[in-house]
Symmetry: D2
Subunit: 136 residues, 4 copies
């Protein structure tokens, strides 16, 4: 069954802009990461609990991102997040940032691969079964 | 004739780390951008002068990045920068971050596409000829 | 008549933390600035319109901040903002960051002085009258 | 005997600027912290070793900062760091940011109070004796 992507709003502040008057390119990765955190939260998974209770953390392994339109101060954006692929020890998220208005112009498209790691040793570890099932 | 890639050192400070004890994934984009600025400077191009005198800015259009190893507080890294491809109005940079020691372990590999834009209108514009020639 | 301070929520994400597992000290200034932006918005003032229509920007001139308790990943905070003093060409904001729960433990207390400047020349300029009246 | 303050250079990149075309106010705290790290390093103290070997970390307790002049893209600055006061479990640093040219115009003046804490419990702890002596 098709699911709607998870949506998370982002407002652009001074901290986000650079001297070109637009959002600095590294900052979009922050919005994507906030949205993945909220996506996981919406599915019942808190990353601090995953560390404490399951001993796992997620670390980004690959980023692929296209910058289609610039965002500016005061802009209201929406980050749309869905799972593109889930494997034994990694997840590929598909994330799109759009304007929070009727037209929903696309600002940014990304695929982010995260690996599941053992919290202290930082070695690859299978995604907890419960989590893997619920995210599929 | 083959050219050695440009090298730029980066030291990791508190500001760069996150609660996993490693460099936060968005921050590598800052190091890549510092290194591109220094690469251009080493070729005689100052981006503020390019804006004032030529009316052009460069904006990132695409990022492709693989995170191979984590970097940590106090680590000394080197960003290696070279031009992968240069077109009429865009440049693809190939950038690799390695440890600043004998083994030069690779931390991070990236391809960054930047577009040349008219400074105020933010419309695509040909790279200034002088610049294009010198970067090839 | 006494006014309640303006309140603005902040959630702590990975981007906010450092390797001590707590919020990096510079990042609180971002939350304070988001809250000042939202405070002004709640009074009817958009900073991009102030630049375009009135030709004024606000620049921080002084920061005084006490860090009382650390905040951590996933914490929900509230930034309380009120005007401490308003002069011809400057405003001192009083801002307090508290936990967003019943106890409202204080994390951080700050006084931030901002100056009103002419947008392009960056010279001191009187706060627009309309604004000054409404903020008092 | 009077000591010259420690000096540490900072170059301003895109990441540092905001849409006013100047350095975003929170970012100066990063430069101050880089300079304190290098100040301690110059005295023989590495903060990661202090955690591992002595079980202590330093956390900022108070910031007082005056923004006198704006810095811009490509500017070369110097952070001057000296100890203003050292107590049993805290240090107050005096830090000044100046332009890296002949005139050394002052950009920014700050006093930063850091507390010495037990690394895991984050409770106040006396500064290691060896360190305290050497910093005086």
């Amino acid at each position: 069954m098709m699911q709607q992507p998870h949506e998370w709003p982002v407002r652009i502040y001074y901290e986000d802009t650079d001297m070109q008057g637009i959002v600095y390119y590294a900052n979009y990765l922050k919005y994507l990461e906030r949205a993945r955190t909220e996506f996981l939260r919406s599915k019942g998974f808190e990353q601090d609990e995953l560390i404490d209770e399951q001993g796992v953390v997620f670390a980004v392994r690959a980023v692929q991102m296209d910058y289609l339109k610039p965002a500016q101060f005061n802009d209201k954006l929406i980050v749309k997040t869905e799972i593109y692929e889930i494997k034994r020890a990694s997840i590929i998220f598909q994330q799109t940032i759009v304007r929070a208005d009727k037209n929903r112009e696309i600002i940014n498209k990304a695929k982010i691969k995260v690996a599941c790691l053992e919290a202290l040793k930082m070695k690859v570890k299978a995604i907890p079964k419960q989590m893997s099932i619920q995210l599929k």
